[in-house]
């Protein structure tokens, strides 16, 4: 599989060239273009099998949709038997795409609405981030991604990658993904006065060692900017 990302950072689009038999799974609605004859299979995603597994997968997908703003379904694209294929996909909003290689050891925690696509033997589990994550700006759900293969994460704005070794503080809405070598605590931006008046709200205090991906803009910021400017 070959992947190129073009038109980034503002309007990134990923082009994936698939060898015969390879499959790439993409969030519903993200396909831009593809070679002729690609097979598409629509599923609700999730890792559990069996009837009850299906119900759990469905419930989790449903939660992701209404709380995380994700789509309910994912589409798996496979080239026609014995042939190569090409798939182009892009997120809905303006921004870049992270292409992250999973090596079977490190895991990546991704913001609930960050999933764009995956390929290979990649497991995506929906995790409730605990009470603290209710305040973390981008929803209470995180996706824990593990396995081996490729993962594509969408973001709003440009991506900034930081190698954290020790401690680092990020505004909650700007956190896209981080490796599981890192742990975090949600805190106010300072004292009560600063938390309420600084406009910074809550921050995530990371500690440990690992990669942290942040986005240079937040969807919340865009929405707050647009809303008062719309005609009644």
């Amino acid at each position: 599989m070959q992947c190129t990302i073009e038109c980034n950072p503002a309007y990134a689009m990923a082009t994936v060239d698939l060898e015969p038999g390879e499959t790439v799974t993409v969030e519903a609605g993200s396909m831009v273009g593809m070679s002729d004859g690609m097979q598409i299979k629509t599923t609700i995603g999730g890792t559990r099998t069996g009837f009850f597994g299906f119900l759990i997968n469905f419930a989790l997908a449903f939660l992701r949709k209404f709380i995380g703003g994700e789509t309910l379904f994912v589409n798996a694209y496979t080239p026609p038997a014995g042939q190569r294929g090409r798939l182009m996909f892009a997120p809905a909003l303006a921004g870049d795409i992270i292409h992250y290689k999973l090596d079977g050891q490190r895991r990546l925690m991704v913001q609930g609405s960050g999933y764009l696509a995956s390929a290979g033997n990649v497991l995506v589990r929906t995790k409730f981030g605990g009470m603290k994550s209710l305040f973390s700006g981008e929803g209470a759900f995180w996706l824990e991604v593990s396995g081996t293969g490729d993962l594509w994460v969408n973001c709003y704005g440009a991506i900034h990658e930081i190698e954290v070794d020790g401690r680092f503080i990020v505004d909650t809405g700007h956190v896209l993904a981080f490796e599981t070598g890192l742990t975090y605590a949600i805190k106010g931006a300072g004292g009560l006065k600063q938390t309420l008046l600084s406009g910074e709200g809550l921050t995530m205090h990371f500690s440990g060692k690992g990669k942290l991906f942040i986005q240079s803009r937040t969807v919340g910021g865009l929405v707050h900017w647009i809303a008062p400017r719309l005609p009644a």
Binding site: A12, G33, D36, I40, K41, N75, A92, A94
Partner: protein, 229 residues
Amino acid sequence: MQFRKELGPAYTLCICHLDPNEQVMAESGAMVTQDAHVQMQTSATQGKGVGGFLKAIGRSMFLGESFFRNTFTAVNAPGEVSFAPALPGDIVTYELVPGKDLIIQQTSYLASTTSVEIQTKWGGFKSMFSGEGAFWIRAYGQGPVALTAFGGIKEVDVDGAFVIDTGHIVAFESTLSYQVKRVGSWFSTFFSAEGLVCRFSGKGKLFMQTRNPLEFGRNVGSKLPPRSN
């Protein structure tokens, strides 16, 4: 007449250089700057006189086409005019040659030289399902035309067949033909959120935009607070 682009791809500006007494036509509202000696005329898109006026009213009401387009003339000296679309995104210029038309998604037309004819065409029944409205612009003649997109622009050389999401089409050469199709099974058609796609076949260039305005609107719109009336 020459087009050049600056500040791309997110917020591209299209700068048009005119030789003495050359003209450029542009979508109404697209002009950003012009040299002081450049003169602008506004004309109804459907020709002169009362007939053209009424036809233009009709077309703008029913087809969503611009009522007016503007023509800029560099009077007796070389001059420059710059144009920009409303949405953030890239611009592509295309050189028309006689015999090969360019079919443009209606909102993607920005500007063209006056030796290029611009016509709005009913795209047939299938185009009603092709995402960007039932009408296409057909550009033909000779010379450059500038197109806009929402997001980046990617050029695809189709030879055989290629499938594209309907909301991502900017323009295509008339040597290509397309069919509106479902994706996969009926289940996928309803739940894949891809809905209908365009399958292009033949040999020619296809220009696609990396973002879909409808999807963007849906995504941001769903997060906006309810309007207070």
